[in-house]
């Protein structure tokens, strides 16, 4: 068990004022058996109205509107989490887990991933978690970390064929591989110890629990990770989603700091 202090800061800067800015934020870390949120503060600015709900994937969403003209829009989430990496989240019942077994537009495998998968498949292990570890290992040997070459809409197949990308791409590709054999798995967006941007990893269900794995680092997720949102792919997990009028071009700045308490 480990107690972490976290800060998530996101700021959108518009070069032309934006208004009627509708937002949906999946920015609140989960409070569950794996990570207990001891303290949490959420600040959204500007904001004229907001409300809360839980979506189909279990995310605690804050949605609302910043109506009047603004040059900046910022979200700050700070707090303390007690993380216990040995506590896995319980698997979902059959009728809730089905959607995690099938590809989405972002994870859909094409010829490149399918042929890679066929090669990896040759030394398959019977144990789901061991098997996915093998897939992850195979991917790690094949794919390079390279920021700035892929975008939010890059699919698993596109990233795989180019051979490099960021954590989102690693996660999408591993999800695609798992789903080629209908292993239930989901995308997790969250924070990692240190200073930097948000991170992404996956969870695989072995029938009893969700086992988190980090394909970018080719390792199991430990108590330095804090999960913020989850879904079938990155799109379901968008931490800050918005539509607005005006705005011109925009710049997004994200800063995450996670420390031991």
């Amino acid at each position: 068990m480990r107690t972490l202090q976290f800060q998530y800061h996101m700021q959108l800067t518009f070069d032309f004022p934006a208004c009627d800015h509708h937002f949906t934020l999946r920015c609140r870390p989960f409070h569950d058996i794996r990570q207990r949120i001891l303290e949490e503060r959420v600040e959204i600015y500007p904001k004229h109205y907001s409300s809360e709900e839980v979506d189909s994937y279990g995310n605690k969403c804050i949605y609302g509107i910043a109506r009047t003209e603004h040059d900046h829009f910022s979200v700050d989430v700070t707090g303390e989490a007690q993380v216990c990496a040995e506590n896995y989240l319980p698997a979902l019942p059959a009728h809730r887990i089905g959607m995690y077994r099938y590809q989405t537009a972002l994870t859909k495998a094409g010829l490149g991933l399918e042929s890679f998968y066929r090669d990896l498949r040759k030394n398959a292990s019977a144990n789901v978690v061991e098997h996915v570890k093998d897939l992850m290992d195979g991917l790690y040997g094949k794919f390079q970390y390279e920021p700035g070459v892929t975008g939010v809409n890059t699919t698993a197949e596109e990233a795989f064929c180019r051979g490099s990308g960021v954590c989102q791409d690693y996660a999408h590709i591993l999800l695609a591989l798992c789903r080629l054999e209908r292993i239930p798995c989901r995308y997790i967006a969250g924070m990692l110890m240190g200073e930097g941007a948000t991170h992404a990893w996956i969870e695989v269900s072995d029938g009893k629990s969700w086992i988190p794995m980090d394909p970018t680092h080719n390792r199991m997720v430990d108590d330095t990770y804090i999960a913020i949102s989850r879904g079938r792919d990155a799109r379901d997990c968008t931490i800050n989603q918005g539509v607005f009028t005006g705005g011109g071009s925009q710049k997004q700045e994200i800063r995450v700091v996670v420390n031991d308490k």
């Binding site: 509708h22 409300s51 709900e53 189909s56 059959a94 009728h95």
Partner: protein, 439 residues
């Protein structure tokens, strides 16, 4: 039956329809074109008893489909019990994960269903497809009837025909039944939409407000209509004529500019009714069509009154074998396509085309269904002073309020060319009034 008097008014009625804007918009080679929807004066006539039979079957079918959608976004018992294979749900294009666990007001998903039927030469009716998303077309026979009655009132005195002008009343009852408190609006993408005439006509006839997305706003977890003076009025029911993906940029397609941000969030909370419910596409997929008779059995414990066209699912091995053996006599449909596209007649393919298609079929069996070609009963149309036969189908409308209601009329569409089997209005063709006899 006296219908001859109508013939003399063909030009007048068609001119009036054009003037009222009864048009059908189509996209051809990515260009939007509005075209007239030609009206044929000879009505399709359905006898009272025959319609009573259709009515019974249609109510049963829509009840079962509604139960299915509720089940799919809930416990998925029908999947657990092995009636419908899981991949027909999740791998189909109609399933929306955002609808998981969301229950619409009063548990109604398919408020307005358009069920397409055809009649075979043996007089047997077959279900062709179910349209549960935003089926259009009711306004065409409504206004055509109005104009025909005006042209020759005596025809409608002499024949005992069910009055179809009650559609607006049925629709209003359907909308009011689920209204969560507030106004009722019909949400249209705007006047460039293919069915804009229908949106405005139904608004006028039901007394609902005709609105576009920019006139609706979500505030404090409720939906408001902004009237001409800028005043906000609460809205409790939205008969939306825009598809799921454009309904709410915050929950579906982010690029949508015709939707209302956060409308889905408050719908999820039960604060507004959306007609039809988002996610219905999971039940009107061509792959799911195969399972509807099984659904009726499963949810209602009844035998299906109305039959599907004989359908094979290459997904099942025995069906695949049958399809390969009888390929030339079957019609194959791509489950992902609609509007009369993606349809292949086995006997119309060249050898190479056939080989190419069979390879595709074997590779992606779930993507196709195969059906026996139904020998349609021709019905007459009046063209250039002559009576000549055409293929036709019937779109029946079933509305669900506290009980299912079948509109005693329907949209009869006929093919443009005498030899065409495809009667979808987005591929040309015209329409007829449908007379359901009262005696």
């Amino acid at each position: 039956m006296e219908t001859e008097r109508l013939f003399g008014y063909s030009d007048t009625v068609n001119e009036l329809l054009a003037r009222y804007g009864v048009k059908f918009g189509i996209y051809k080679n990515n260009v939007f074109k509005e075209q007239l929807f030609p009206f044929d004066m000879i009505p399709r006539v359905i006898e009272k008893q025959e319609f009573a039979f259709l009515e019974k079957g249609l109510k049963q079918r829509v009840l079962a489909l509604n139960e299915f959608i509720k089940d799919i976004y809930g416990d998925k018992k029908i999947v657990r019990d092995g009636i419908v294979p899981e991949e027909f749900i999740y791998a189909g294009s109609g399933y929306l994960a955002q609808c998981e666990g969301v229950m619409p007001p009063k548990g109604i998903y398919s408020h307005i269903s358009g069920i397409d039927l055809v009649q075979g030469k043996d007089k047997q009716w077959y279900i062709l497809e179910d349209n549960l998303r935003i089926p259009s077309g009711a306004s065409y026979p409504m206004i055509a009837r109005e104009l025909c009655r005006r042209s020759t009132p005596i025809t409608f005195e002499k024949n005992a025909i069910e009055d179809n002008r009650n559609y607006a009343k049925l629709l209003r009852r359907t909308m009011d039944h689920v209204n969560t408190g507030g106004h009722t609006v019909i949400l249209s993408p705007g006047r460039y939409n293919a069915a804009y005439f229908e949106h405005s006509y139904l608004a006028e006839k039901t007394g609902a407000h005709l609105v576009t997305g920019s006139e609706l706003v979500v505030e404090n977890d409720h939906l408001y209509f902004i009237d001409y003076s800028g005043k906000k009025e609460p809205v409790g029911a939205v008969y939306r004529r825009i598809s799921d993906e454009y309904l709410d940029p915050m929950n579906f397609n982010e690029e949508s500019v015709i939707g209302i941000p956060h409308i889905y969030d408050i719908y999820r909370k039960g604060n507004v009714a959306l007609l039809n419910a988002p996610g219905n596409g999971v039940a009107d997929d061509k792959g799911i069509y195969y399972f509807v008779p099984k659904m009726i059995q499963y949810y209602l414990g009844e035998e299906a009154v109305l039959q599907n066209a004989p359908t094979y699912l290459p997904y099942y091995k025995e069906d695949m074998d049958y399809v390969l053996e009888h390929f030339d006599s079957l019609v194959l449909k791509d489950v992902a396509e609609a509007g009369g596209y993606g349809i292949v007649f086995g006997n119309k393919l060249t050898r190479e085309e056939k080989e190419h298609f069979l390879a595709l079929l074997k590779e992606q069996p779930r993507r196709f269904i195969a059906q026996e070609v139904i020998d349609f009963l021709d019905i007459d149309i009046y063209e250039n002073g002559e009576v000549t036969p055409r293929k036709a189908d019937l779109r029946a409308f079933v509305l669900m309020a506290d009980e299912p209601m079948v509109w005693k009329s329907g949209l009869t569409r006929f093919s443009r060319n005498p030899d065409s089997f495809i009667v979808n209005s987005s591929q040309g063709g015209g329409f007829k009034d449908t007379w359901v006899m009262a005696e």
